[in-house]
């Protein structure tokens, strides 16, 4: 890791107040993200995997500064953007863009495709009308949509095409970092592979860095250089995709890998089915957050939260056990 990272997140926390009772007092917090550190190098894809409620989407939204984090810091190209507000944030918004899961909900149904893709230019005050129209045409071509799509509305498109519109909007301003929040989970298999190929092509062409958030480990491993696995607001393990797959160290990562159904009827399943559900982030378990479901739990796990430690070059694990 010789280059300086394009994004560095340190000990980030995002706690949402939980309002209760008739006076709506805040007595508890939903610790959606609770002390996460990670970095992304230029041109790299970091995959963020975890189950519902593990805080992966919240983390993505903190980085785009759609949320104001509770604590910790976010640096983009060496500059701290954690507390920037309003106008000061605008230049970074241009460099950090986002692709959302549900393209129907993230595209304004009353705007034409041209309006949707043109909007980032208007917000950032770039170019005049004619040059913007040209850009829209070019972007449609890049994401593989016919030029006549420009005057149509989102409902006229299929899910995969809508996601292409969302991608065109996200790369419109030539960003450096794109946060992809479950960009293919709502799509059918044959369309999913089209979109994954497009994202990989765009990364090569425009030297993009991605934070790729998804719950499907196979998809994440396919597109990522490194993977971070989250569980209940914390990073359980992070390493390259190959390491995570061939040499997983955290019991949660192992059970996650063994739970993925493989399209091969000859495979004998030696499954480590972990029991129980993910606990609530409002009242997370003491000690290691995975301990109530962990097959290798010890007494220490119940009291002392494990720290992320390095087991190998670039391989971090948050577990007491040495395996």
């Amino acid at each position: 890791m010789s280059d300086s990272p394009i994004l560095e997140v340190r000990d980030l926390k995002m706690h949402f107040p939980v309002k209760e009772g008739i006076f709506l007092r805040t007595n508890k917090f939903n610790r959606a993200v609770d002390g996460v550190s990670l970095s992304i190098q230029p041109g790299e894809t970091l995959g963020l995997v975890g189950e519902s409620g593990c805080g992966k989407s919240t983390l993505g939204r903190c980085i785009t500064r759609l949320y104001q984090p509770t604590a910790g810091s976010i640096s983009f190209e060496g500059q701290d953007i954690t507390h920037l507000k309003g106008k000061a944030l605008m230049p970074f918004r241009q460099h950090i863009q986002m692709i959302f899961q549900d393209p129907m909900e993230s595209l304004n149904a009353r705007h034409t495709v041209a309006d949707i893709i043109e909007e980032p230019f208007i917000v950032q005050n770039i170019g005049d009308r004619i040059s913007r129209k040209k850009q829209v045409k070019k972007l449609l071509e890049i994401v593989g949509l016919p030029a006549r799509s420009a005057s149509r509305y989102p409902f006229e498109f299929s899910g995969g095409q809508r996601q292409r519109i969302g991608i065109a909007r996200s790369i419109a301003l030539n960003p450096k970092l794109v946060i992809c929040d479950e960009p293919v989970s709502a799509l059918d298999v044959s369309i999913q592979s089209q979109i994954l190929n497009l994202l990989i092509d765009l990364q090569k062409e425009f030297k993009l860095s991605y934070l790729f958030i998804a719950h499907d480990l196979a998809v994440v491993k396919h597109i990522s250089d490194r993977i971070a696995i989250m569980y209940l607001g914390k990073v359980a393990e992070s390493a390259t995709g190959e390491t995570v797959y061939h040499n997983p160290q955290h019991p949660y990562t192992r059970s996650l890998i063994s739970a993925i159904p493989v399209p091969d009827p000859h495979r004998v399943v030696e499954r480590q089915v972990i029991s129980g559900d993910v606990p609530s982030p409002i009242d997370p378990p003491s000690g290691c957050r995975f301990h109530p479901r962990c097959p290798q739990v010890t007494d220490m796990c119940k009291h002392k939260p494990p720290q992320l430690r390095s087991v190998d070059d670039g391989h971090l694990v948050s577990c007491h056990s040495d395996m």
Partner: protein
Amino acid sequence: MPLLEVSDLVTEFDTDEGRVRAVDQISFSADAGVTLGIVGESGCGKSVTALSIMRLLPQPMGQIAGGSILFQGRDLTQLPLAEMEKVRGNEVSMIFQEPMTALNPVHTIGKQLAEVLLLHKDYGHEKALKESIDILDRVGIPSPDVRMGEYPHQLSGGMRQRVVIAIALACKPALLIADEPTTALDVTIQAQILELIKELQADMGMSVILITHDLGVIAETCEQVVVMYAGKIAEKGSVYDVFDSPSHPYTRGLLASIPRLDTEPKSKLSIIEGMVPGLLDLPPGCRFENRCRFAEDSCTLSAPPIHTIQGQHDVSCFRWQDI
């Protein structure tokens, strides 16, 4: 004689734009005790097939326009509604995708579970409640007597799906239809639920029709598989036939386009170009023709007949021998 024999089933819907055929002349059968998977993408007709068997098509738009569904020798399409009500939930049951919408939010778990038993069995109130607790225990719900008095919102997604399974299996049906039973769940919970369905199936000796878009789930849980595309069956056979020697270009494309844990990261996924034709303007020939790499002129003229490759392995393609 197979337990269920669907022959030339045609299901149509009246829409504002005209009548569409969601399921077009499909035939398949399921023997007692086997698990049959139906796989396909959104809109291929897999759920409509399930709803047709259950005679639960939305009324008055949806109707069975042809064919027969023989269940234990009786044609379900010809059964009077009163008779069908005795079959449904008793001899044939269904699990739905979204456990929150399948359960009634204003009734307790116990009430919803006992209702099935009171309706179909000659049970008194007390016996129904006692039996309900036993079933909840059987599907792995901790402290079932307490859960009986709780409402669906008090349970997690995985627990709710267990309750839905408990309701479906309360009367020990001969056939269980599971429509995307794990799609809304996290992978570790999905593994638990699939494991549970397998276990219960072995216990009770019932047949299961599992509908899913996930080829991995099919490979791990089913013995037979039916691949559907745009309302027709593209290919069917045992999982070994279909996964080892996929003979329809669509099946091949699907299998090749899934990112797997052992594929080379960032490699090009093979894709199926284009998208599924709309049901309102289906092509006269093969429905996959516009996306097929092997298509010839003859494919556009008439629909391909069903060829038997070997044993129970059937494919609907003109060129299956060439690919």
